[in-house]
Symmetry: C2
Subunit: 311 residues, 2 copies
Amino acid sequence: MPDEQSLTEKLFRGEPRAVARAITKVENGAHGAAALMKEVFPRTGNALIIGITGSPGAGKSSLVDKLALFYREQGEKIGIICIDPSSPFSGGAILGDRIRMQTLGLDKNVFIRSMATRGNLGGLARATVDAVAILDAAGFDKIIVETVGVGQDEVEIVKTADVSVVVLVPGMGDDIQAIKAGIMEIGDVFVINKADREGVLRTEKELETLLSLAHRPDFWHSPIIKTVAPESKGIEDLSKAIESYYEFQKKGENLERRTAIAKWRMLELLQEKLLADVLSRSGTGEKLDRLAQEIAEKRNNPYSAVEEILK
Amino acid sequence: MPDEQSLTEKLFRGEPRAVARAITKVENGAHGAAALMKEVFPRTGNALIIGITGSPGAGKSSLVDKLALFYREQGEKIGIICIDPSSPFSGGAILGDRIRMQTLGLDKNVFIRSMATRGNLGGLARATVDAVAILDAAGFDKIIVETVGVGQDEVEIVKTADVSVVVLVPGMGDDIQAIKAGIMEIGDVFVINKADREGVLRTEKELETLLSLAHRPDFWHSPIIKTVAPESKGIEDLSKAIESYYEFQKKGENLERRTAIAKWRMLELLQEKLLADVLSRSGTGEKLDRLAQEIAEKRNNPYSAVEEILK
């Protein structure tokens, strides 16, 4: 396919339109996505992939913007992927374009993309990981994956980054132990953003205590960086902390972690493909609709329905 | 199987141990889970299922505890399921037992369970929905599904409840628009918790504006309830708001929504079953490990690997 060939050629030259088209392709699971990704993979491995997560309200988006600006000033090309939760019963991305588009979006060396699930079939995690690989192959130096929420999918995605950054704010209230426990294990670098607020010392102390209790298999001691994103305070420190974990983990073989990630990617892809194969059989769509209605009317149950589909 | 028979008998009598065993069964996707659920489904439909979501730090857990206590005082049996995000690369539930266990856990008419993903295979949403059905069949009057995070999976799960409650706190900062946009569409009832804090009026006004812009297909006007959970303030109002949406949505046919949920459950189950079938083929485990290592060493890519598994 000459069209496909020119797409990958343009992609490897870093043309924004080709990057966007390629990502749309893997997002939709379109025909040809597998062929594209097989070409993309051998070209990956040059970018530093940074995952950023934390509660909504922690100021992640402005932190990401400032970090991206900092990298831009070093002359680097930046990709930003924003994971956007949305309900499967209504569908559609919610945030889409944001204020950032006004400050960063016009810069040709910054590529920004929001990704959201479409419909019920999942695949967001797989699509995100593929989009990161595309940006990597297209020559972006730093790729930042930012999550809006802090749920299961988001944690899975952030864990596939080279360096995972967890963003907290001072005095988050009575659930702070719970949050920290939930995301403690994934943080290679911790940020206390809005560090001009009251309670920053207490939050820092609590975090230090929790970190001292955690046992990382690699014996890395996760640093705590204080930032005030709107004033760009602490952004350089953050970039240094990210770099230093990146160097640290490159020293270790780290093959075990990459194998675990590879396995997870295969299982995601396998599941997606198996379901797509069943759904593409003729008549399955109608059968599914009929069975769903039967279940809704309590004349059937999901377990028996699935057996009928597979018969 | 006489053992199975006695399990469902005990389950339908509401014996806590049988309930716990049944949930473990569906959580592990154990042999016999499908047979169990086929017996459970015809017995469901009596409980009111309440989904509670919102950012970490919003005080959801104490709100849930107070609401459960309120229902207990009305003589009702309460089931609480807590969705617990955890990393697939380390596995295991994180919160497990919490302070609540000390206040509610000894009450025989309160059943509390944390659910977390185990490993990479997903299925948390399906397992949670099955656990809710089990509690329903076991005679619990109110079932509260509480999420720790506010990600994709959590939103999906909460949407399957009869009434979805979204919890906010005053003055969550610059991401508040984003949060609200993300969960706006799923809230049948909104709670501003910690309503003794500064900024409550502003948050209420903002929320009202957003709600007036939202168009719900059912024309329901989502109420905003102010609570201070530790002091049990606003809990009765919350229970009334929940009840009134429940009555409202029962009047409408609501078949469309239930059909959408049924379809989603089928697809989840189908995906899980298809993957389990492939993985149970002899030799697949070893093949998967070998391919994962090849990918980690960049000698292969996930797409080609999946094709090899399916060959």
